[in-house]
């Protein structure tokens, strides 16, 4: 058991997914969890090992689904934009969307569906308001390409860019409540909750929010 926990944590660190460790800390042990866009199942595995959750996943790629199924995870091939509607109300304690919101066609509907089928939602996303992005756009006059977001504008899967403040405004607009949030710097350090929002929005490379209806 101890070994499998360590293995799961190592995998997350190896994948440079600091946000996943942060997400895991927000999940209540034993909860029923849906991971939307679960990829190869690294977060679900981590949650099952460290939080003993009852986990489910949705993943669009066949390769990802197969990798999950082979690990014994319950994962459906599906699309966040269309398939959340198939789940009944209150089916989960937490619905997680990690690094996927910016790739959905209708981010607002996705968040609303997440809060319908889960009592709480955890969303992690890259912050386009990070100072490096701002400087790149300001000085090069071209859409930023960074190590963290390495795509050119014409072949990026990310179609809806937003900043931490944009996200907070959307949460307010749909009448949901932010329970807590974490902004992570480039090195994976978390910025203190007490800092003003503009600091988060400038220095957070990515953010993780726990929201509820």
């Amino acid at each position: 058991m101890e070994q499998s926990v360590q293995r799961a944590e190592q995998q997350v660190r190896a994948a440079h997914r600091f946000d996943l460790m942060t997400v895991a800390q927000l999940i209540t042990p034993g909860a029923k969890v849906l991971d939307v866009g679960c990829g190869d199942g690294v977060l679900l595995k981590l949650l099952e090992e460290t939080r003993q959750v009852e986990g489910r996943g949705i993943e669009i790629s066949q390769k990802g689904v197969n990798e999950c199924v082979a690990q014994g995870l319950s994962v459906m091939q599906g699309d966040a934009d269309t398939d959340l509607a198939d789940y009944p109300d209150d089916a989960f304690d937490f619905v997680i969307l990690s690094q996927t919101l910016q790739a959905t066609h209708r981010p607002r509907e996705v968040i609303e569906q997440m809060l319908r089928i889960g009592r709480k939602a955890v969303v992690s996303f890259p912050n386009f308001g990070h100072w490096r992005m701002r400087l790149l756009l300001l000085f090069t006059g071209r859409m930023p390409v960074t190590r963290h977001l390495p795509y050119s504008w014409y072949d990026t899967p990310n179609i809806h860019f937003f900043t931490i403040r944009d996200f907070m405004a959307l949460v307010k607009e749909i009448g949901a409540t932010i329970e807590t949030g974490v902004a992570l710097t480039e090195g994976g350090r978390s910025l203190p909750w007490k800092l003003p929002w503009w600091v988060w929005n400038l220095f957070g490379q990515q953010a993780v929010f726990l929201i509820r209806r």
Binding site: Q62, Q71, S74
Partner: protein
């Protein structure tokens, strides 16, 4: 144990008119379990079978804890010969790519059982079997059967074989219907379940195709109102046409076109006649002709009827989720992109219901040109999915 009665059918003198099916139906070349009046098979129609039998095949070894048994359910025209040479055609078993040592359903690890379904013609009681009351084949005297009846018979077989629970069960098409029916009827006996290219009901279009097949059989003068077995005839043409029509629905348009296109068969130009000018015609005729050598026409009527009657939600007040209420079974549903007989939407209805019931469910849609029959073909993604899912189920059950 009841001995199979000695049979000399009136039609036997006609020799060639009698193919292999009636022989395998009564003297199967695989193990058989007999049930007597002490264990009648109660049917959904309200009737019951009091002297009946199940023919089955097994592969691998049952472990000491009896936790590694896997039930494979065959499709409409399949049988128990999953991974061993077919006794009539001499061809490899229908799932030889999937079941065997080191294969995705690994017979070095798992004990695989596949029974011929009730209503079939390869040794389990069906219309070609001898009716103990009359000493003649049942023919149309056999009650109409359902998927539920097939599953009940399988459960009784497992009881007789001393297998309390299944590590998993798998099946494509009609086999997938049985998997779903099992999971709904005996949830505590099914640790994991893999319905493939199936749905919770037979669609109107599917019933329509089946009706074409049945009408083709019944329109053949040699069908003799279903009494061909005692009249020494065989509705080969009708059954072949039924098979030809059905076979089209098992393949995708694109695969057909890639394989045959508009190519002519052994000729440079059309003959301006009704010979099999096109390769596809010749292929279908061949499919029809080889099928009648191994299948009983009445059995085809019964099998297709059972599929038509299948509507799992209807048995649970119209709500499919209720069929799976409180289930602990782990599901892995599989569909194929080019399957137009059971398109992805059909299995997605099942997946939705399983989600609504809070079940543990995985769902994989495999991209292929293979059509409905893709579950029988060389599909690496299917193999990877099944291997992984079964391996995980075995680990969860503590099987090494």
């Amino acid at each position: 144990m009841v001995d199979t009665p000695d049979i000399t059918l009136p039609g036997a003198q006609h020799g060639a008119a009698f193919g292999a099916p009636p022989n395998e139906a009564n003297r199967p070349s695989s193990p058989v379990v007999h049930f007597g009046p002490e264990a009648p098979l109660r049917l959904d129609s309200g009737r019951s079978l009091t002297r009946w039998q199940v023919a089955y095949q097994t592969y691998g070894k049952l472990n000491a804890d009896k936790t590694n048994a896997i039930l494979v359910c065959h499709a409409l025209t399949g049988d128990q010969h999953v991974a061993s040479t077919h006794p009539v055609t001499g061809k490899p078993g229908w799932w030889w790519r999937m079941v065997g040592p080191g294969l995705p359903i690994d017979t070095d690890r798992y004990f695989v059982i596949c029974p011929n379904v009730v209503g079939g013609c390869m040794g389990t009681t069906g219309p070609a079997s001898i009716n103990p009351e009359t000493g003649l084949p049942y023919m149309l005297d056999l009650p109409v059967l359902t998927i539920g009846d097939m599953v009940r018979a399988q459960a009784m077989l497992l009881d007789r074989l001393g297998i309390p629970t299944l590590l998993s069960m798998l099946g494509g098409s009609m086999g997938g219907m049985q998997v779903l029916q099992w999971a709904a009827t005996y949830p505590d006996r099914v640790f994991s379940a893999v319905p493939i290219a199936a749905g919770a009901r037979h669609s109107s279009q599917n019933i329509a195709f089946h009706e074409v097949g049945r009408q083709a059989i019944m329109a053949d003068p040699d069908w003799r109102s279903g009494r061909y077995l005692v009249e020494g005839t065989n509705p080969r043409k009708g059954l072949a046409v039924a098979r030809m029509a059905a076979h089209i629905t098992y393949m995708s348009d694109k695969a057909l076109h890639e394989k045959f296109g508009r190519n002519l068969q052994d000729r440079d130009k059309p003959t301006f006649g009704f010979d099999a000018d096109f390769q596809i015609e010749s292929y279908l005729r061949h499919q029809g002709m080889t099928f009648v050598e191994r299948f009983d026409a009445n059995s085809y009527l019964y099998m297709t009827r059972a599929m038509d009657y299948f509507d799992l939600a209807a048995d649970y007040g119209g709500r499919l989720a209720n069929a799976f209420k409180g289930t602990k079974t782990r599901f892995c549903a599989v569909s194929f992109t080019s399957d137009w007989l059971f398109p992805t939407a059909e299995i997605k209805t099942v997946v939705k219901a399983l989600n609504a019931a809070g079940a543990s469910v995985s769902f994989v849609e495999i991209e292929t040109l293979g059509g409905h029959d893709a579950f029988l073909l060389d599909e690496p993604e299917l193999f990877a999915t099944i291997r992984g899912f079964l391996g995980a189920a075995a680990r969860a059950r503590g099987i090494q």
